[in-house]
Assembly symmetry: C2
Homo-oligomer: 468 residues x 2
């Protein structure tokens, strides 16, 4: 049945053989300077063509006076010029065989009738030529593994590659999500800031990401949907293959999409959206941080195959906070079978009672092997589907959580093990170590708890789908 090759359709956008930057300049106070600097700093390996009406050389590269002067068949065009000019240039690029374009400029649908007309004209030209246009009114596209930075922010050239994709209607919220990913050390497969969605909308990108072998988890920020039915269809398809998470805002009052949204989205009610997301098998989350924390767990495949959780700690306060979030989110802490409890008793310090959650007091901080032994026992119980350890960073004390051994335990039991290491973002060495071992690790109990709840919810969604 499938005759279209959606990967090849999108290849010119995410992995083009050549890129033209229209508006590229030597003037660092212009957007076109930053757009070209972004492409080059990422180490893009294909041909790069700056287009500027007067400059002969831009940032050390031969410049071309116009789109018409470029060779035929440049695949991706980045338009760093104002709105009306971008529409003109996009038309020319389409005629010269452009396959994809990125338009940063505003001045379209978000600005009333005249902008709306301009945007329709842009879409018409792009559609006729089969050219995919990201934007207008967006911050562009990233593909770290393809060394493509089609934004105007060159620091994004160093964004770590990974398998989490981000599609954001809002450039600003896209930025917020990328920032959380940096903080959480989550690598990126593809980033698309959709903006006004002239001819490229959520459902198109979802169809691609469902197939993209580099993407294991898809994160969306949605302000409003123009094509609800198509979204549901493609989100549902994508969610049948990999986790799809959505953060959506702007339902009510002065914060509503109608009142404040420059991507021209239509307003709708929260209930309708929530229902649609559920129906599509998409996980809805409540903040950008939660989106990224859940994506981190899912990208590591840390999906508990049930609601039973074992918690082990040396410090009760954070464990209480974590456990409460988990219980409110539908997870349970099964009692340990009698023989496991007595086996646990053998190595627990005096005064510590076997249990779930388990508090092994400060003894487990100075001797973290207690965690390993307790988790090994607990995971052997059938209705315990995952473990989480809460540990205060041993920074400078010489005490270190046994990341590798803990990760191995999880693999041996075939059950995910999570870690909450209490450490500031400013001294994150331990977060790096844990990530290297493939353990979903968070530096606060709130983040760890929410990630666990969402991962378990993902399992339920998948199970429900399978039983339909």
């Amino acid at each position: 049945m499938r005759e279209r090759d959606v990967l090849e359709e999108f290849r010119p956008l995410f992995r083009p053989r050549s890129v033209a930057v229209v508006g590229a300049t030597n003037n660092p106070f212009k957007l076109g300077y930053h757009a070209l600097a972004a492409v080059r700093s990422a180490g893009f390996e294909g041909e790069v063509y700056p287009v500027h009406p007067r400059e002969e050389e831009v940032q050390g590269l031969k410049a071309y006076p116009s789109v018409e002067a470029l060779p035929e068949g440049v695949e991706l065009y980045i338009f760093a010029v104002p709105g009306p000019a971008a529409v003109e240039e996009a038309g020319k690029a389409a005629r010269r065989g452009a396959r994809a374009g990125v338009i940063f400029a505003g001045g379209f649908r978000e600005m009333g009738a005249e902008g709306e007309r301009l945007q329709r004209e842009l879409a018409r030209r792009a559609d006729e030529a089969g050219m995919k246009v990201v934007g207008p009114n967006c911050i562009g596209v990233l593909n770290p593994s393809g060394k493509l930075n089609a934004t105007f922010a060159f620091p994004l050239s160093w964004f770590p590659p990974g398998d989490v994709a981000v599609v954001s209607q809002s450039g600003g919220m896209g930025n917020v999500i990328l920032n959380h990913m940096l903080d959480e050390r989550v690598g990126l497969s593809k980033f698309v800031s959709l903006g006004n969605r002239a001819n490229l909308d959520f459902h198109h990108v979802l169809e691609y990401l469902a197939e993209d072998p580099e993407t294991a988890v898809i994160c969306l920020f949605v302000e409003g949907l123009d094509h609800g039915r198509e979204f549901l269809e493609k989100a549902s398809l994508a969610a049948s293959r990999k986790p799809v998470l959505v953060y959506s805002r702007g339902y009510s009052g002065k914060a509503s999409r109608a009142a404040l949204s420059h991507t021209g989205a239509s307003a709708s009610s929260e209930e309708i959206y929530r229902g649609a997301f559920r129906q599509a098998g998409v996980l809805a989350v409540d903040s950008a941080e939660e989106l990224v924390c859940a994506a981190k767990a899912l990208s590591l495949g840390a999906v508990p195959r049930g609601e039973g959780l074992f918690l082990c700690t040396h410090t009760a306060g954070p464990a209480i906070a974590l456990a409460e979030i988990c219980e409110r989110g539908g997870l349970r802490f099964p009692d340990l079978r009698a023989e496991l409890a007595s086996a646990m008793e053998e190595f627990l310090p005096p005064g510590a009672a076997p249990g779930n959650p388990l508090d092994a007091f400060a003894f487990a901080w100075t001797d973290p092997s207690i965690y390993l032994r307790a988790v090994d026992l607990a995971l052997s119980q059938e209705d315990v589907h995952a473990a989480v350890a809460v540990f205060a960073s041993g920074a400078a004390s010489g005490i270190r959580f046994p990341f590798r051994e803990y990760a191995r335990l999880g693999k041996e039991h075939g059950k995910p093990v999570y870690l909450c290491v209490l450490t500031p973002f400013l001294t994150p060495g331990e977060l790096d170590q844990a990530r290297e071992e493939g353990i979903p690790t968070y530096n606060t109990p709130e983040k760890a708890g929410k990630a666990l709840v969402r991962a378990a919810e993902y399992h339920r969604l998948s199970r429900d789908r399978a039983s339909r």
Copy 2:
């Protein structure tokens, strides 16, 4: 009426003239090594006395073989020895005139009847001598301005001084709160990890902090209260002078205090606690992050004197998220008066409509003076009580938010101005700049929104108190 000098009563704990570390050692695998290293790395300026039965010199200091061998009148004793020994040594210290002590060890009330007896014995000895004991089963005390680090974590010696106090029942959650403060660049006045509260409980420390001139905001983490009436009385007193915030967890199921808490607190219902906090004029928050973000705003005195907020952005997505949190939290976005709207129209870019929230599109990113002019107009309207600007970090683009001028506007109007700069924690230069200007600044819309909601709630609490 007041004859007690509570500041002087607590001085030996927070600003002692001399400190003894019982259990100090040259062995870096012992707690006593870290306890002494912590005292010294903080640059403590009084006398420091290591106590070790056999060593003659510990970490370059003359060591004393026993508490009895110390000079009379050492003010603060830090006990880095196991539980039963700590009780013995605390008794001796009390007899030699100790005024305050910190006991890290566990093995007390959290471990059943025998531990309970030991703790009562400790409290009896301390009470008799008028010695204040922090702990047992805690991570200690910090007073950055007094160069006191009475914990066993020497990195805390470099914690920035400030005017926010933290009192945590749980050492682990204390750690989480301190980590958030580091991330948010919030300075610390006093930190107390209460642990098992042998003879020092929330109400005692609250009475002190209410008077402490170095403390402007008090943050609490409560797992459970033994002395509800005393807590209410002292929290209420403190809250009449400065903001008191509380994060409390552990109400239900396996996460309950009864099931998992090594500080031996009794369980109670969430409703009872919430009601009590409200009655005392204490602000209850829902996470450690929210605790710190709200404290940051309150410590800068950024209290809106009403519910009216003006929001200005160049990027709609994050602004929508922020606005929605504010509206759900009871803030409003008043319409601007006609003459203000038309004055605003004069400098707004084409297509941008005067309004609240105001989206001035990317024009306001490249020319942030638009923020200043818009906020200046909006704050002149009576029912607008605060402003918040949402701005994408200009990192490396050369674009920079006008922190100083924005802060000055707030001062001129006598109304707080907040900032949400979308930047990762990993590249926080802009957060530092904004903090220097005294603007409450957050790097996500969720944090900014919650801080604004809590600051406005603080105003309502204060107003309600005044009208009683």
